[in-house]
């Protein structure tokens, strides 16, 4: 009884999800809990199992093990009910290119079993809401990437589902398109929709998510608020590339002193990287100290933490690398 009560508290609840393709384990006991009305960012590199997780939760795939409930319905046994409660926007805009924006939404509305008039009205509402009213009569193939994704989002939102799955919603978009999609997602979230969003970008999860779940090799390895995660990674970083690998130890000592933290060293790239507190003083301090120490730096730069940094911190290996490769 306790388990039932617990899962009922979450809009998305997964426990020990497993999925194998031949010998490869795409999901290896994934646990996920998203309270209603929250946005969870599923963060991980290519092949971590993000898409597999979304496909199982949206009833497109059957899990090999474990169980999952979405909006209180079991994704295997109550797939039809789940489908009434979710919207799905995949890695590409799944719209009909030849149909106009309005025709697309009307067609999908009819397939959600709205009446003719209701489907038309809903299409108009959504076109307005997602800023596509002016392009309603244009064929989707003439839309920009951002517009297409917004049309795709609108189509997933026809029933105003309580749960929305967004699988890498901004992949392949230019910065403007990304901002457009982010705005659209924010407006949905403001309406109380629970969102599971997969992304390869830390800043995207940071922009949109209340909680971030980092997944690697089919398993959740870390979960927390974006702030917690970022503070663990250490905010901005300074990268120094030296001319020869022989200079790395000296440079590491210098940078470590300036930044007050042990830098990570990438021998192959002749690069070291350290977290910084104050961007400008760290940069000027590092430049001066390296110069004083006679280290010949090829490049020095400040940057925001990337997914790679998160991974290195949390797993001890880079995103996409196997642990053995690092150990070897």
């Amino acid at each position: 009884m306790e388990v039932v009560v617990e899962s009922a508290r979450f809009a998305v609840f997964a426990e020990g999800l497993e999925k194998r393709y031949g010998k490869v384990k795409a999901l290896d006991g994934l646990d996920l809990r998203i309270p209603g009305g929250k946005v969870c960012g599923l963060l991980g590199p290519n092949g971590a199992g993000k898409t597999t997780a979304v496909r199982i939760l949206s009833t497109l795939l059957r899990p090999d093990g474990g169980r999952a409930e979405v909006a209180g319905f079991d994704v295997v046994r109550q797939a039809a009910q789940v489908r009434c409660s979710i919207g799905l926007a995949g890695q590409q805009a799944a719209v009909d290119e030849i149909l106009t924006g309005r025709q697309n939404l009307e067609t999908f509305g009819r397939l959600y079993h709205l009446g003719v008039r209701e489907a038309r009205k809903r299409a108009d509402d959504l076109l307005e809401r997602f800023g596509l009213a002016d392009a309603a009569g244009k064929q989707a193939k003439n839309y920009s990437g951002g517009m297409r994704r917004r049309l795709d989002l609108a189509a997933s939102f026809i029933l105003s589902p309580p749960v929305l799955f967004l699988d890498e919603p901004t992949t392949g978009l230019d910065p403007r398109g990304r901002n457009e999609v982010w705005e659209a997602v924010r407006s949905l979230v403001a309406g109380g929709t629970t969102v599971l969003l997969t992304t390869q970008y830390l800043d995207e999860a940071d922009q949109l998510a209340d909680r971030i779940c980092v997944i690697d090799a089919g398993r959740a390895i870390e979960e927390g608020a974006p702030e917690d995660l970022k503070s663990r990674v250490g905010g901005d970083r300074i990268d120094v590339v030296v001319r020869s690998a022989a200079e790395l130890p000296v440079a590491a000592r210098v940078v470590g002193r300036v930044c007050g933290a042990e830098p990570e060293i990438d021998r192959e790239a002749r690069r070291l990287s350290a977290p910084v507190m104050d961007r400008l003083s760290a940069l000027t301090g590092t430049v001066r100290a390296l110069d004083d120490a006679g280290v010949d730096a090829e490049d020095i730069g400040l940057r925001r933490p990337t997914l790679d940094d998160v991974f290195l911190r949390l797993t001890g290996h880079r995103a996409g690398e196997k642990e053995e490769e690092v150990a070897a």
Binding site: L60, L61, C84, S85, L88, I98, Q103
Partner: protein, 280 residues
């Protein structure tokens, strides 16, 4: 902004109603395509017409029909048209495959599968749309035939029966198209089928008599499902044919019904299985 979530049908009649309504919505999408992209449908309709003109007037004079007034141009076109009808049906295979693989590649199929619609509607809608476009294509070809001098000489009922056999062939090939469309990774692979369809077309009784081919090749041609339909429709329309002494040539009418049923019996379960495997 909340909308009533539709009640999921539980009884068989309710499920059927959903399946029919959804299939029609999916098929309707193709009808909109016709109006939105008239160029595409016009090319599809005119390509076989062009082939009729090419074979009928360019090559027609060079091919003599057995047991008939040799080099009678009108006769060759009388002979040619049933083959062209069947060819138009065979071309439909590519169209089906193209639509199915494009929807799968673009994620539209996944969108359908994540929606509370009748699962069967995805393929049923496809078959309704493709049968409609094939019926249209066949009408254009019949009109084209009438213009170049082709006529049916038997009863109207037999002519209708012949049309039915052609559409039956198309219906069976529909499932080959759905299966292949679900198999291939990208719509580009359709190009391979577009090329492969030509040898299948020529390895039949459509243009030349299988008897004039080397023995084994002739046997393949005679057993080609396309040949059965072509020979049967020639007979039903009362158009000249090759005849032939073999069992298969003598029983073309039977085979024109049997072959599509065999193709359907093989590819319908394969398609359903393939569709189900999408969730594996």
């Amino acid at each position: 902004m909340t909308h009533p979530i539709p009640a999921i049908p539980r009884s068989v009649p309710d499920r059927l109603r959903w399946a029919m309504a959804d299939s029609w919505t999916v098929a309707r999408r193709d009808l909109i395509h016709w109006f939105r992209q008239p160029f595409g449908i016009i090319v599809t309709l005119l390509f076989p017409v062009m082939l009729v003109l090419m074979f009928g007037y360019l090559f027609g004079g060079a091919i003599s029909l057995p047991g008939g007034n040799a080099a009678g141009g009108g006769d060759y076109r009388e002979f040619l048209m049933p083959g062209m009808f069947a060819m138009t049906m065979a071309f439909g295979l590519e169209a089906t495959m193209m639509s199915v693989s494009t929807d799968a590649a673009r994620g539209v199929t996944d969108r359908f599968r994540s929606m509370p619609m009748a699962p069967s509607a995805v393929v049923l809608g496809r078959s309704i749309a493709d049968m409609m476009s094939s019926a249209l294509g066949l009408s254009v070809m019949v009109a084209c035939g009438l213009v170049v001098g082709w006529r049916w000489h038997e009863s109207f009922g037999q002519a209708l029966f012949a049309v039915g056999l052609l559409l039956l062939l198309r219906f069976s090939l529909l499932w080959v198209g759905i299966f292949l469309g679900l198999m291939v990774k990208s719509p580009e692979a359709v190009a391979a089928v577009q090329i492969l369809i030509w040898p299948v077309l020529f390895l039949s009784n459509t243009f030349v008599a299988p008897e004039t081919m080397p023995g084994w090749l002739g046997a393949i041609s005679e057993w080609n499902p396309l040949s059965a339909t072509v020979a049967a429709t020639r007979e039903l329309f009362g158009n000249p044919g090759w005849g032939g002494e073999t069992w298969i040539a003598q029983n073309s009418l039977l085979m024109a019904v049997l072959w599509p049923m065999v193709i359907f019996a093989v590819f319908f379960p394969l398609s359903v299985r393939r569709y189900r495997r999408l969730s594996r």
